[in-house]
Symmetry: C2
Subunit: 391 residues, 2 copies
Amino acid sequence: MTDTPNGWPQGFHAWTGRIGLREESGDDLSLIASDRPCTSAAVFTRSLFAGASVLVNRRHAPVQQTRAVVTVAKNANVATGEQGERDAVEIAGLAGAAVGASPEQTLISSTGVIGRLLPMPAVRDALATAAQQWSEHRDASPLDVAAAMMTTDTRPKTSAATVGHARIVGVAKGVGMLEPDMATMLAYLTTDAEVPADLLDTALRTAVDATFNCLSVDSDTSTSDTVALLANGAAGPVDPDEFTAAVAAVCLDLTRQLASDGEGATKLIQVTVTDARDRAQAKRVAKAVVNSPLVKTAVHGADPNWGRVVMAVGKCMDDTDIDPGRVRVAFGGLEVYPQHAGDDQLALLTEVMKQPEVPITVTLGTGTAAVTVYGCDLSAEYVRINADYTT
Amino acid sequence: MTDTPNGWPQGFHAWTGRIGLREESGDDLSLIASDRPCTSAAVFTRSLFAGASVLVNRRHAPVQQTRAVVTVAKNANVATGEQGERDAVEIAGLAGAAVGASPEQTLISSTGVIGRLLPMPAVRDALATAAQQWSEHRDASPLDVAAAMMTTDTRPKTSAATVGHARIVGVAKGVGMLEPDMATMLAYLTTDAEVPADLLDTALRTAVDATFNCLSVDSDTSTSDTVALLANGAAGPVDPDEFTAAVAAVCLDLTRQLASDGEGATKLIQVTVTDARDRAQAKRVAKAVVNSPLVKTAVHGADPNWGRVVMAVGKCMDDTDIDPGRVRVAFGGLEVYPQHAGDDQLALLTEVMKQPEVPITVTLGTGTAAVTVYGCDLSAEYVRINADYTT
């Protein structure tokens, strides 16, 4: 249902440029904007230390008319106090002006190191270039923008879907500090569908709940998580149900790309918990499994140590209705508990765990709810990347 | 206040032997027993998948007369169903008989791989040897027993303290799957103090709450956690307050040894949260920091990326009384937030983070409670150890 976008929906344009935050060459500043008014929806991190960009956006988001998005990569502008907030306000103003949007219509994101002030002279220079070039050179592709948003991502993430005469095009970034709560690191969806703001909001929240909020790379929640959906109506109205499904499909595709590219990841882990009391219980148990460092390292080494999955389920100590005697655990179609795996089965399990996607299913026997969450294995490379990130 | 034990308290003896679960040579079975009746206290894992040994112990612990402890290393006897429980009952019976204790007076522990039945013929042979040798060769030292309990531990953990004319001697093991809740992997304390069972219970629970329950290596809670304290009275009565303090000191010493020897660990991380609303909030925030993979990897690489500490505090999203404007963060005596660290300070911070013990202090400003928790850094070695544990 999703495909790779080779352009933006009608009326959307983009530009990328360089502040100089990225040590090596490469763009670290990006702008996406619609040439006509938009309805919009957005969700942000619930972190208590939400960044300055998120704080500024929260004041503008209720207007639901975002038509421009500016992103700074490699510096999160978080824990930077009042100066950081003044900087975010200034960037939103300059970026909006460059593309003909008011500050209230401009969403700002920043992602990278926490606790460093932005080099504002360089940021102002880059935004002045953007203003000069916007009318003639606003031809950056979704792939260009996704690349300019990257921090330790190894590849840009984009996805698209068609709904009626309209397109939905999304870009995302995020590899570590990735257990979103309300939204993931950064993901923007644009569409030329004509969608009322309330439907847009519902479609986005429904999709985020089942996709980005079911993603975890390392159980650390970012201070900058933002997902936004901008609709400019250029392609006319679409069927609401089809639109909602298409938004969910693009979010799921991006979520899976984010999980697969988790810092140091070599495999995607997909944990489905079924027969749970309610969705909250299913998600709690699924997250306990997908976040367990011992499950993650076993998957990394294709070590058929399935006992770690029951250990992780056992950590949900407040779910006292879970009875070990009714729990079932399977890898792919291969049940490992309570059926005791013989040596033949362990060899088969090793093969399942060597695949690029490892599906784990836990049947709780406490009800009928189900949730799937997405994560990745834990490798020595994750340690290497994060042991010297700022230095 | 603590020291290294060179023997057991009066009236306690020990023996170690080999079942053959440990691939390389080395003992994997141990027995500790008192030659006279004891009062006892014990706490166990809250895991929903508590192992067969824990299930059996829970039935006996309320009697508070444990005088013998038998430990099997390298196989946890967890997720092994009714057969596993029958095996645990049989081992407790045979081990107790070997040292002259009833099954109800015998505590059994097992630690290692989950989901494998014990090789009972070999276990029975080893326990028969124990029964033959107990009267003549019950001369294993605390260090011998701690070594026989090890799984991926790199060194045995022992600690002792003197209280009045009595001694308290403790042994422990645990390196991974180590975020105890109610108790740590395995820790046994013996004393020849004469202590009523209710004081023993209070002293143990108080100590465990501030020590083992404040320890986390990888946020994974074991299915086998057990802490027990046996008192045989051979040295007569002691001052209750001094006794309680001495038990806490031994537990803290063992906790610090466990954290330092966390799987792949190169450093101990000590996170103190002060000025919190209550102890629960302080512990929640401290655990969020000490368990953050991004904080752990930064400490590993001595990367002065202090922003990850505020990120981890920000994850405690239900603590809405925490105001980023009142939070303070320091490494050792070096404040890094809200004071913005210049390059000089970052260089100093790097030096602090290179030490074998890295102390992090978070001042919340929501009250007056404080808690210290203990953890370790995350290294590539943790991944290596756990990517091929069973194979």
